[in-house]
Symmetry: C2
Subunit: 625 residues, 2 copies
């Protein structure tokens, strides 16, 4: 058990002191009326039960029952994707974090039943994978390029750590340790080096090391990381980039290949760096981060522009319509940025966590928490064929490949753990949200309607330095304090530092005027377009808000007109635009004949709220008139 923070550790608390230390989960409470806090409530009340129902419905638990001779349906065979086990494990992890957050005992019976099943399925050696164990002749760890065995093991381990931190059934940690011991033994003894085709076990093994102090887990993670990029895996039809085996991690400074694999690996490498202090790893990770977040990220915080191979595209290849932007990729990106934030204390990493949380990740569920996007496009065309789950027209209750819904559940149950940190001087608030945050010497109670309001009121008990992240778009932010000393005027993109005495009040005002944003000219796919942001929220225009007979494709924004706000939560915007007739020929002479256009005022809604009415066209990037 890692003793450094008091209470329940948040995800990824380094054993070796880092630049910043996460607050214990028990030291943070998000206001349920806040956007993130509200999402946590919906997650607990709806998403986690929905995941539990679906792992049963889709046969994931049945895969375990069948192996121990107690199937609910006789004569069945393995159901689901190769990595179906991980659907269960991610759901268990969500339950673990939820227990840590609220102390709920709602899932105690389920945990007990599942622990018993896992104990029975696990081999005496510690191995546990229903796909391999249920396939006659299949040898453990023999098809690692596509078997996802260590990936599934990693999710089991992370579930066990979360359940342990949440005070749940202790058998999970025992099961996870037995499997981790097997992995450490097996892979350390490899004659020919082996790695898993899907990175994930690295962060998990390091979390287990943090939870237990067992150093062989850290070494096992290090082996997976250091072996990568030496052509260990057969590239097959997908190429070595897909498997993150194209270059050693210190040389692989362009984000490439399968985006979730890339981002989980990067999180694992950064975890390793946090524990071993290897500056060459940190250098590579900051370069890689610049590539991913500086040339390949959607304005919503989505990652991975290619449906084919679920991959990163070339730099600036960011089509809004075919954005893959897998929900899991944004979650992985957040986990990675969090680790770099801990390592460096730099605001940029927290900025991108907020962007993803309030846009791509928030968009991936319905308001009621029971339907999900797997890919998160920034544009849906009139006439879109939504028949395939690869690119549906609305959120679906579940997926054939169901990695995203339980991933969301585990993130949201622990998201308060990513909001604030501490260091020797005091407390750092990275995610602006109503709630309360306690570090060693001070507690900060935050009252705010953010992200809709720019007023943030902070009441301090105890004393110490409070650092509050001022977002990069908040030039002109002001700060006032009583019983506290503002150490420097607020600067956009940096932390406002305030030296606080007990009873201090700090008030920050952020400018919330809607902004037009353009992309680097190399992002060809949105040339001549702008996006609209207000605070950290990206907006979109949806067919459901347009007058009858007008399609999204006919709109162009008048950039000189004033954007009005509708006072509501969430805030809607009213935009000055024009409507032009549709073209009638696919290719035609330039310049176009002049056409009559009609002025119109249109509504824009937060991107994350799209597709909560009937299916229809949507776009984030609007052409300029």
């Amino acid at each position: 058990m890692n003793e450094s923070p008091a209470g329940t550790p948040a995800p990824a608390v380094p054993r070796r002191p880092a630049r910043l230390t996460p607050l214990p989960l028990s030291a943070v409470r998000l206001d349920p009326a806040s956007l993130l806090g509200g999402r946590q409530e919906v997650n607990a009340a709806a998403t986690i039960p929905h995941c539990v129902d679906n792992i049963e419905r889709t046969g994931v638990i049945e895969n375990f029952r069948r192996l121990v001779g107690v199937p609910a349906v006789p004569d069945g065979s393995f159901q689901g994707m190769l990595f179906a086990d991980s659907d269960l494990y991610k759901t268990l992890e969500a339950i673990g974090w939820e227990m840590a957050r609220t102390g709920t005992d709602r899932w105690a019976g389920l945990l007990s039943d599942v622990a018993e099943l896992l104990e029975q399925v696990q081999t005496p050696a510690g191995y546990l994978n229903t796909r391999v164990q249920g396939t006659p002749g299949a040898e453990p760890f023999s098809q690692l390029e596509h078997s996802h065995e260590l990936y599934c093991a990693g999710h089991l381990i992370q579930a066990a750590v979360a359940i342990h931190r949440g005070g749940g059934d202790p058998r999970f940690l025992t099961i996870a340790r037995r499997f981790a011991d097997l992995i450490a033994r097996t892979f350390t003894a490899d004659a020919a080096p082996r790695i898993d085709g899907h990175p994930e076990v690295e962060t998990a093994l390091i979390e287990l090391y943090r939870e237990t102090g067992e150093e062989s887990y850290l070494r096992a993670a290090e082996l997976q990381i250091e072996r990568r990029g030496h052509g260990v895996l057969p590239p097959g039809g997908l190429g070595s980039q897909y498997y993150q085996d194209h270059l050693p991690v210190r040389a692989a400074t362009e984000a490439i290949g399968h985006s979730v694999r890339q981002l989980y690996l990067a999180a694992g490498v950064t975890d390793l760096q946090l524990e071993n202090g290897d500056e060459t790893l940190l250098h590579a990770m900051t370069q890689l981060w610049d590539s991913a977040f500086g040339t390949k990220m959607y304005i919503t915080g989505g990652h991975g522009s290619r449906h084919r191979d679920e991959a990163y595209g070339d730099p600036y290849e960011l089509p809004p319509d075919r954005a893959y932007a897998e929900t899991c990729a944004s979650i992985a990106a957040l986990q990675w940025s969090w680790r770099l934030l801990l390592a460096t204390g730099r605001a940029r990493y927290a900025e991108e966590m907020e962007r993803a949380l309030l846009n791509a990740i928030a968009a991936s569920t319905t308001a009621d928490g029971t339907a999900f996007f797997y890919s998160n496009p920034l544009q849906l065309r009139t006439g879109h064929d939504g028949s395939h789950e690869d690119a549906p027209s609305e959120r679906l209750p579940w997926y054939e490949c169901a990695c995203c819904p339980p991933n969301l559940a585990r993130l949201l149950a622990s998201v308060h753990g990513y909001a604030a940190t501490s260091d020797a001087s005091g407390l750092q608030l990275h995610l602006l949200t109503a709630g309360s945050f306690t570090a060693d010497t001070l507690t900060v109670v935050v009252e705010t309607g953010y992200p809709w309001s720019g007023e943030v009121l902070m009441s301090i008990r105890g004393r110490g330095e409070l650092a509050v992240r001022i977002p990069p778009w908040a030039a002109g932010a002001t700060a006032a304090a009583t019983g506290a000393k503002v150490l420097a005027e607020p600067t956009a993109g940096d932390y406002l530092r305030v030296s606080c005495d007990d009873g201090a009040i700090v008030r920050i005002t952020l400018p919330m005027k809607p902004r037009l944003v353009r992309a680097d000219r190399r992002v060809d796919a949105v040339r001549g377009c702008v996006a609209i942001e207000r605070g950290p929220i990206v907006y979109c225009v949806e067919q459901a808000d347009l007058p009858d007979g007008v399609t999204v494709e006919q709109l162009a924004l008048d950039p000189s007109g004033a954007i009005l706000e509708e006072v509501s939560h969430p805030v809607h915007l009213r935009l000055p635009a024009i409507i032009t007739p549709l073209d009638t020929t696919l290719y035609q002479p330039y310049p176009p004949a002049s056409t009559a256009s009609t002025p119109v005022t249109i509504t824009a809604i937060p991107y994350y709220t799209w597709a909560n009415r009937e299916p229809g066209a949507m776009r984030v990037w609007l052409p300029l008139a």
Copy 2:
């Protein structure tokens, strides 16, 4: 044997009289100095031998040898994709057409050896597929959603027809008929209807019907067509659109799913309509064609914008960088347009044949005919990762999935068959190219440097009506005739009709000034850009022509400046442009700060000639300054 045209029939000569009748292959000769004629020479001298070498190298022929116990390498197993047999068959088809074109006996030995192998591999029932026959326990026609058995059979049949027309080894037609007889028997007797996941056999069976007069082949094709769209195939993970099984052919009027399957099916349906005269089929096909060519086609004549599932995208989803635009799709599109041209006589179908031939299809090979693009993007970015054969930076000598190279070979060997037709009144010239063309009552000798020159001189022997297609961009074309009567002034997008006496001379002048072309505003991916065309040729800008230190991404075209032509074959253009500094931030406030731009004159080259120097960035669509 179909007697209607004298000499060797071209591809797809209907038995039932159509609006237009193809000229016999022996009645057409393309000038080897013309673009298309030159391509035929390179195809004969380099591409066909290259295909022959590669089907040997990749084990395609070995798959046959192994089945009859004479493998070159003992103890080998099946090599290549499920449909590897078709690589051989398409190469054989190319050889057949090449024999019909030139009478070459270069391949007689190969044909004899292969015929002997096929005879030995073919079962007494007539079945022939090395993948199925080489897989223990595999049952013929039992996995049709992915086995490609009828697809391969179709290519065998088409090869046999071409070899028969070329006067080659007669055993191929016998082998093909035995297989076709089996297919006709088997599928007619189906208790539960079965279709192949990859349409292709439809056109083949109808060609074999045309070659032999055997009506059961036409009926077998009709069964494959009429059964489609009733959910006959399990949709699996790819969805029923992928297999063209989502809607019956009369209702499926949006081009969708796997583009090559869509286009081969459409060609087959149109073949069926040509033979049975069913107007409901023609109506559906013209609607489908409008969808494909009017909302989903690249300006180069490429089809299919999605790498994922090799599919058509939504209407107007036409990203230039991720254009899949498979070479086979453009070939299939040409074959389909040809059939609609025969059915209707409308110029639009011939226009799109020319667009594809001189742009997407021409771009798919190197000048020397031995390296190929599978996908044909309209943009390659600086920093493109070309490590995967899915999106290489330059043409590759061969592909793991080698459908395209031999498909090109078979098209080019027969492309003269698509240039002209006849009807009761005379001869129609659809593809403007130097060469000679003979119909029943007249011969036309065409002298022209087209597509570089707009001067087309036609000398007529015999008498009759000559119809010459005036391209849609050729407003202002003029015609002059001696010994002939021009029946109406030339109209862009229609046929110029000239009543000719023996010895007549007809001279057409087409305006060849370079043109700026824009796309429908719904093609978001090229907003704010123009393409440059001159005559039928689409141009591009390539990194190799830019000054040191300037990248393609920095360019913007000045649309008000004059475009100059360099007198060369092919004609290069000189464009007025500006260079702007690269942006440094992915997302930033709008409007941008003003930046200094530098005027520059840049070279544009025909798109089809790109990537014949070092690999580098390229773009067809240029941003406007």
